[in-house]
């Protein structure tokens, strides 16, 4: 059976290439149809907010890539409730459908995967 991997993305989209490079790991694994999960934690939840304008900073649009994840067979998308709450965000603030987990749920989630990469 293929080994699973959880990628935990915890950087804001405008903090350098980290958010994109976390996503690239996910997309590369998706190409092999590996069992992957992607969790947005801490400032990583800012990757999900609506109506961001990448052109304002001469950057590429990350949201479009995130929204395309299900097309690549990656639909295990999770968000930390505590990270949303801390930032006064909720489900309606997010640009794509995700499963929101509390701390206990996150702990269980991490322990479900064979490998974890937190960026």
């Amino acid at each position: 059976m293929a080994r699973s991997m959880l990628i935990i993305s915890r950087q804001a989209p405008w903090a350098g290439p980290s958010a994109r490079e976390a996503l690239d790991i996910v997309l590369a694994g998706g190409a092999f149809e590996l069992p992957l999960g992607l969790l947005f934690l801490d400032d990583g939840v800012f990757q999900l907010t609506k109506a961001q304008q990448a052109a304002s900073l001469e950057q590429k649009d990350l949201t479009a890539n995130l929204q395309a994840l299900p097309l690549f067979g990656i639909d295990s998308l999770f968000v930390a409730r505590s990270s949303l709450t801390e930032r006064n965000l909720d489900e309606s603030s997010l640009a794509l459908p995700v499963e929101i987990l509390d701390d206990a749920g996150l702990s269980t989630l991490i322990n479900r995967y064979d490998h974890v990469i937190t960026i």
Binding site: R3, D24, I25, G29, F32, H115, I117
Partner: protein, 130 residues
Amino acid sequence: MKFVIALFAPPHSPAARRALRFAEAVLAGGHEIVRLFFYQDGVHSASANVVAAQDELDVAAEWSRFVSANQLDGVVCIAAGLRRGVLDAGEAQRYQRPAANLAAGWELSGLGQLHEAAQQADRLVCFGGQ
């Protein structure tokens, strides 16, 4: 056990030395390193152009020696490397850059190599930060 060791930090970061000492201990403990994979700022730890002061530890050079001496599979992410100016001869030529700087022992390849190695490994251990 079979390990993949991934480094995300440049050679001047304590994490680059920590990863190296960990990798040495993995082999000393009788375990196998399936692959080393350098990603993000870790690609700088595979640069041959790092010059450490004479009385300072040269982590990038030690990594290169470690990979060569143990004939390990050492992969540097090509996209992360290009973005940060770590090129082999082929990429330097392709993008018409004046020099290649990938240290001996390493090869540039894609992120698929990380996944492929993780499929074979019992443990993936990442090093980065401080």
